[in-house]
């Protein structure tokens, strides 16, 4: 295997959603910069939106919502643990991002007057903007990358960040998953946009790659940020999503909701007021799933034929288009059967919950020269539009940061150590198969970390993850492709340890199912109305600490504070609600 040394001003790791935007905006800010977009797959079809997206979940569009209202909504949806400056910065920029995507050719639903056709799905405000033709979004991004003359390398697996004598980031190390060539990429600033940690828990199907997230998003970014010394925020606020059982893709209540679809129990009755994904919503979902009224379904069978055709058109061509095939195989027709749902495996993702690498409103992490954006950056409930927006911030701020800076000298000790670590599995003659180690690790993540969380179980989990570290030291990779999987198992193990330690640190319950601790069942604002930050300290140990929530810049209305806590529909409300739904459907 050869070693290649490359040199760029700004390196963006991950070419899914936030990454392409970051690269384009860095170049736009300073066209003289050398910008590299480094991708594990191929930027044409990589990341969470490889097959497009069916809508924006958090569009803050004048006339429909205000940045203040959105900030208030997300603060409440995330149980108050929010640095509002970061959410507010997103909200103020949200419309500008939409207008830019619109200019780039991304199609959003508009009404007869040419205005954006915003729908209401959240508890309080209206932020959902459908993209019925959103399947081409990656093509639009690729065109912009070419136009901006961004350098792209595909099939490079980044494994570690280089840091200089001052602890600032100074480059990226990785390898080619086809040739096993080693890459040393010098950089004055690095933007991590590697997606969620989506291969943490094992899906209930037992199939390793049957994850909710694109399985390339294995948590590499979380592990790289951690080892570079960056703080990670609120990791115990796991991502757990309501999904189509076995298929494990989103049921898309957001898409069907405005058309009259809803989440129902085994009796076909509504049990939650609002389908917007929050910890509390997942708690109610989980309770219903396990109850005598379970399991849970997406109910569409009451809708008119043309409405169903519209839903099929959107859901079977966007985001997870193989869904139609899955339904056919199970003989599920939206007209006659409800779609059986289940909950996802656990993961980290700030796109949907709040677990990510800490960033401020400039997308800066706690490490000099290191930025993060997208699902892996801790701006709560940020979704795709938040990824684009924080990619934008990261690109522009990284470009400003590198102005006038020189490259740090190469630290050969770091490089040699990483090269030895990365290639060890390829050099072993015998050893464990990466897929088996991954299966066991992720099965144990389920056994010991899946909420409801129990202290003693998580402690046992930590012991098991230590043992897996020993197993990892005897993995054999037969070829470069397996070497990629071996590198990912390491990142997944790091994430598993982070998930356990972060969860043990916060001795209260918060965020509904995401952090329900059976032995600390109550929310404890007196001690835990704070962020938790997890990082690697100077001795190399994984430590957690409390960090105060920044004073709110948008005050909360007393009447709204409880709104996300009272999602369950009670028996006496049901008859009235059924009537309202029938009316809504008639008008659809």
């Amino acid at each position: 295997m050869n070693t290649h040394v490359l040199e760029y001003d700004v390196v963006v790791v991950g070419g899914g959603t936030a990454g392409p935007m970051a690269a384009v905006k860095a170049k736009e800010r300073d066209p003289s910069l050398k910008v590299l977009l480094l991708e594990k797959a191929n930027v044409k079809r990589s990341g969470a939106i490889s097959m497009g997206m069916d809508g924006l979940n958090n569009a803050v569009i004048p006339g429909h919502a205000t940045p203040e209202q959105y900030t208030r909504e997300i603060t409440i949806a995330n149980d108050g643990i929010v640095d509002q400056s970061a959410v507010y910065a997103y909200a103020k920029h949200s419309f500008k991002t939409i207008e830019e995507l619109d200019r780039w050719g991304v199609k959003f639903e508009k009404d007869g007057n040419g205005d954006y056709a915003v729908k209401k799905v959240h508890h309080m405000g209206s932020y959902v903007l459908p993209m019925p033709e959103g399947h081409d979004i990656k093509k639009m991004l690729y065109r912009q990358l070419k136009r901006a003359r961004i350098a792209i390398t595909n099939r490079i697996v980044a494994t570690r960040l280089l840091t200089d004598a001052h602890g600032n980031v100074s480059g990226v190390l990785g390898f080619d998953c086809r040739t096993a060539d080693f890459y040393v990429v010098r950089a004055k600033a690095v933007i991590l946009s590697c997606g969620a940690a989506g291969r943490l828990g094992l899906p209930a199907s037992g199939y390793l790659m049957g994850t909710y997230e694109n399985p390339t998003n294995a948590g590499d970014g979380y592990a790289m940020a951690y080892h570079a010394g960056a703080a990670l925020a609120n990791l115990e606020c796991f991502q757990i999503n309501p999904l189509i059982k076995d298929y494990n893709g989103p049921a898309c209540a957001y898409v069907t909701g405005p058309l009259g679809g809803y989440t129902a129990n085994g009796k076909g009755e509504r049990f939650i007021e609002c389908d917007y994904w929050s910890g509390q919503m997942m708690w109610e979902f989980y309770q219903e799933l396990l109850s005598g009224n379970g399991p849970v379904f997406l109910k569409l069978d009451h809708l008119a034929e043309e409405t169903i055709q519209t839903i099929e058109q959107i859901l079977h061509t966007n985001e997870r288009p193989s869904r139609g095939r899955f339904h056919t195989g199970r003989r599920t027709d939206y007209r006659h059967q409800m779609v059986e749902m289940h909950i996802s495996e656990i993961g980290f993702c700030s796109g949907h919950s709040a677990s990510g690498v800490y960033v401020n409103e400039r997308a800066e992490t706690t490490v000099g020269g290191l930025y993060a954006a997208g699902d892996m950056a801790a701006v709560p409930h940020n979704y795709m539009l938040g990824a684009f927006t924080y990619g934008w911030f990261a690109g522009q701020n990284a470009a400003a940061f590198v102005a006038g800076r020189e490259h740090a000298p190469l630290d050969h000790q770091q490089i040699d150590a990483e090269r030895a670590r990365v290639f060890a599995p390829l050099e072993r003659e015998h050893g464990l198969a990466p897929a088996q180690v991954e299966y066991k690790l992720r099965r144990m993540v389920n056994d010991y970390l899946q909420p409801p969380k129990v202290t003693r179980k998580m402690e046992i989990g930590l012991q098991r993850f230590e043992e897996i570290a020993t197993d990892i030291a005897s993995i054999k990779a037969a070829h470069p492709h397996e070497l990629m999987r071996a590198a990912e198992v390491r990142a997944i193990r790091d994430c598993a340890e982070m998930a356990a330690r972060a969860s043990l640190f916060r001795t209260e319950s918060r965020w509904g199912l995401y952090h329900h601790r059976v032995d600390y069942p109550l929310r404890d604002d007196a001690h835990w109305f704070c962020h938790t930050h997890l990082r690697k300290d100077a001795r190399g140990l994984m430590v957690s600490e409390k960090r105060a929530v920044e004073p709110y810049i948008v005050p909360l209305d007393e009447r709204d504070i409880g709104s996300y806590r009272n999602l369950r529909i009670h028996a006496d409300e049901k008859s009235q609600r059924t009537h309202t739904c029938a009316l809504a459907d008639a008008s659809a």
Binding site: M51, N214, F326, H481
Partner: protein, 81 residues
């Protein structure tokens, strides 16, 4: 005493299959190989046709969607079907 390490390979049916009469890999096409996020497809150089090399499919469909001749079919992996 020493024991000889021995590996057993697991058998699986590929969820992504190719209509070889339509596949134009022999003309230099590598679209499906290029777009697979998980890097699972390859070209069999002896036949000049694409095939699924690794059993790690996310049933996401760029390979099928982007194939210029409609030669690729994605089935849901058996375990999820």
């Amino acid at each position: 005493m020493s024991y000889t390490p021995h590996e057993i390979l697991h058998r699986s049916t590929a969820p992504v299959t190719i209509d070889e009469s339509k596949c134009i890999a022999d003309k230099g096409c590598t679209v499906c190989v290029d777009v697979c996020p998980l890097d699972l497809l390859a070209i069999d150089v002896s036949k000049g046709k694409a095939y699924m090399q690794f059993d790690e499919c996310w049933y996401c469909m760029p390979c099928e969607q982007d194939c210029p001749t409609g030669a690729v079919k994605v089935d849901i992996p058996y375990l999820l079907r």
